[in-house]
Symmetry: C2
Subunit: 240 residues, 2 copies
Amino acid sequence: VGWARQPNGPSVQEYLEKALLRITKEKISVIGAGRTDAGVHAAAQVANFKTKASLKIEEFKRAINGNLPAGIQIAKAEEVPIKFHARFSAKWREYVYQIVIMEEKPIFLDRYTYHLRKKVNVKKMREAIRFLVGKHDFSAFAAGEEDHSRVRRLIDLEITQGKIALYPGVKERQAAALVFRVKANGFLRKMVRLMIGTLLEVGRGKISPDQVKQILKSKDNQLSGAAAPARGLILNKIDY
Amino acid sequence: VGWARQPNGPSVQEYLEKALLRITKEKISVIGAGRTDAGVHAAAQVANFKTKASLKIEEFKRAINGNLPAGIQIAKAEEVPIKFHARFSAKWREYVYQIVIMEEKPIFLDRYTYHLRKKVNVKKMREAIRFLVGKHDFSAFAAGEEDHSRVRRLIDLEITQGKIALYPGVKERQAAALVFRVKANGFLRKMVRLMIGTLLEVGRGKISPDQVKQILKSKDNQLSGAAAPARGLILNKIDY
């Protein structure tokens, strides 16, 4: 059900805390850098915890991985200063959003891409992006309750047009692809997906680039487009 | 459970025949070019059927796709001469086998690749391949009961070393990859996976390239290596 512990199903956080309970016999709270929703791929999630256990760091990694289900793993483990906080110490985060454009269903890519049947106008989307980059109140692109301030600094939002191999080992079978890279000092809930959903409305000609500027200014999340589906979204990098 | 109709679960063939029954009210037998096993990805499967229904070919495609589950689709449909037989008319088939080599689990690629933690000796595997290419009795690389002749012409078996993106839209996150391409006029049951499993034993230094020659000559499938896992195997092309 995504990163955050919650009643309606097992979360990544819960799996980690259960693994740590088994290993250390301590009731440990794991702090994650980003609370990715269900269906979003947290390839570069960072999490920290405090413990009195005296295991070496590589032993911790091996022991936790031995207690996790197939879709979750610790890729790298290191000791950090006691004041390190996975969420608050982060300087910026980068998400990638993958779209594949083809007539058929992209069966091999389906879990990690959003599928469009028709081309969208990338030039118009880039015009709209200019209004989003910078320090703004992003309330119009936020879902649900949020912390005190909704001001974030959107460092970069770029679109790359290219080709995606239908399966990675074969170069001759490709589909058109759009890859969004979004970098900010922090993100509000569903912010990336709401921005991309809105930009796709621009790309489809349903709204103009200028309207994106108005939506941002309105601070009203009823005006933004529908959130793009979770499966295309990947947490790609966090910098400290 | 793979292509072929069988009692222990729904097969691709069964789904297609059920869709055709719904559309045409005829009990139609669908003939597939290759009987891929469960877990093998039939990206380029070809199948044919005969019908008295008068739908146009594009209507057939749309109607069948509307009656198939998420993991199966008709990518292309065309009318063929009445004597066309998806299996017997095929000149050659090509399979691709994808291996990713990395320390961590390749979570995003897991369904479509086989995962190795350590490098294998590609030079030695290529030496062994020389004994396999050509027209031979491939009994040593066949599972279970088979048709009259086990002679097949292995047209090509090549290994490409390269990089695979962990998710296709991002180029900076890559893992080492080995991609096998195997082309033959026809394949015996599990032949590709048994050949690759045996070649990997060569690559790991467990058997010598010369021993592959002996295994082929023996016609004894007790001597070949364990079949490489289904998930790395993709039916990539069939030529008529």
